[in-house]
Symmetry: C2
């Protein structure tokens, strides 16, 4: 297995697959960082406190990590995936299944992550492409805390192979063939997490956040359905499950960004202080455009967009969400 990206999630998956006896190589793009990881056996930046077993090879040689593998996992930030795909073009992938774990929607093209890979690697067939998604903070998976995720591919056999490869007693994997739904659920939930963080930062309560999550899942489902997803997917692990963990967990960076903004800091200030990527910021831009393109009502996304990029007061934004006309509880998927 070759894992492209030594962030928290890439590292956690390397440890998981190594524990199942697979031969695992992990690609870190900065040579010095790769060397440091290989010698200290701890990812201080992204997964501190977790030991990386000696069997896991760590390298900054992209071609070596990606070539001749049964499985290649792409675990980079979403805005970097295109450049990774372009480097994969030169690798022989005929016998390889690619498992993408990056969550986002590309800004200029509005493509989902699997679309970016298919776009950049002409020889890649979508039957050899899978997505792993669901409520799975790396910090917990690396500590063997029970976790359930979903493996999605348009080819059910590929989804099952990936399920089989990752499954452990504490890491359960369901399968799904709705790649569009699974990818959109994983990406769009980060917007609602920023909104939930704003709620926290402004000083609102659990009632407020629960209402926000509920309405948030409605608008995710609405856009997803317009884009061709199965609405039932959003009631699943990569929709509701991932939304809950991202909005509630102490580990969520997107929630954190919202919280800091709710407390009055600017987006620029907050992002400057973070080593990890908060995918939701970029995803908000894409989703805002997608809502217009598909003519879908997304009031929470719209308010988050205005707060992040148009300096709207966060308290006013939440108040406006609350004060929309009370109407029948219709979901209109």
């Amino acid at each position: 297995v070759g894992i492209l990206g030594a962030g928290g999630w890439g590292t956690a998956l390397a440890i998981l697959l190594n524990s199942k006896g697979y031969e695992v190589c992990l690609w870190e793009y900065r040579p010095e960082a790769a060397q440091r990881l290989a010698s200290t056996r701890e990812n201080l930046e992204f997964l501190p406190g977790v030991k990386i077993p000696p069997q896991i090879e760590i390298s900054s040689d992209f071609h070596w990590v990606a070539s001749g593998r049964d499985i290649v996992i792409t675990a980079v930030p979403s805005h970097v995936l295109r450049s990774v795909g372009e480097r994969l073009k030169d690798v022989d992938l005929r016998e390889t299944i690619i498992v993408n774990v990056a969550k986002g929607i590309e800004n200029q093209t509005l493509m989902r992550m699997s679309e970016v890979l298919l776009d950049t690697i002409p020889e890649l067939d979508e039957s050899r492409l899978a997505v792993l998604s669901g409520p799975s903070h790396a910090e917990e998976v690396s500590r063997n805390i029970p976790t359930v995720v979903v493996s999605a591919s348009t080819d059910i056999e590929t989804a099952r192979k990936v399920q089989h490869i990752f499954m452990t007693p504490n890491f359960r994997v369901y399968v799904n063939t709705d790649v569009i739904g699974v990818e959109l659920g994983g990406a769009l939930k980060n917007i609602i997490a920023i909104a939930a963080g704003i709620c926290d930062g402004v000083g609102f309560g659990d009632n407020t956040k629960a209402a926000l999550l509920t309405r948030g899942l409605v608008e995710i489902t609405r856009l997803g359905t317009a884009m061709g997803a199965n609405p039932a997917t959003f009631a699943g692990l990569s929709g509701m499950g991932d939304l809950i963990v991202t909005c509630m967990s102490q580990y969520s960076r997107n929630r954190y960004v919202g919280e800091q903004i709710g407390k009055g800091r600017t987006l620029e200030e907050v992002l400057k202080g973070m080593v990890m990527v908060a995918e939701g910021v970029r995803t908000t831009k894409s989703a805002y455009q997608l809502a217009q393109k598909y003519q879908v009502e997304m009031p929470i996304t719209e308010q988050v967009y205005q707060v992040l990029f148009q300096n709207k007061n966060p308290r006013v934004a939440v108040s406006e969400l609350m004060c929309r006309d009370a109407k029948a509880e219709s979901w209109g998927f």
Copy 2:
């Protein structure tokens, strides 16, 4: 407005309606407690730290509080609702809308709360009966924290009237005509909250809990649909919304019961130390029977039942939930 039951929720709703200018009377069944409430103007047992305005009348005279009101709110524990209904039989309710806020399923009869009221008050027509439900911890509502709930009645006009009566800028009310779904969502979520608490008590993480909530909503939806509810209701405030707040909030008593049991205490010990009612314990019994009656698979409810009433080890129960065969992410509503 007459409010029957001076627990946390009854008291919070009294304060809310008083702030809108309604004349509000609150019934507390113990004469001494009623007197204490009326003089101290604080509900130390159930809503400490919140001032009860002097305009709210507090009495232990059931007939006086219930008679001649436009609205009567039943805000008692679910197992007490039948006796309240029997006392309401002697009250002239021809001009009254009854709003029930108790959440549960009666143990022997397996009736929903509105069915209990209709069963005990022969002259009551369901068009004058509404249910108020959703993610709404009393502690937050009484502090004016933004909250969104749903008013449900088979008669949309009644649902709208109730919406209008309760609505404030910080207490938004949607309407729904699916009384079955709204009642079942409010009742069954307490079982999943006990399971979520067990997860916490055993020391599992956010990933585990998010998966549990996701699968929990699936089994609630499955039973609800079998009982005649609209599945979309469970994606709403009284389904997903209420589930999230009950499983996550520091204020949830059902989550607390599960947590204590997860830490190794017995149900008896835990309940002995609580002044408030954890509705989920009784609801688990009813739902366990309903699952058999409607032949619906409810794995989480079954495990919670075995932990609560058959001394099953909570850690084993959660492990068994995790180790069910991994299958396609099919929800089978």
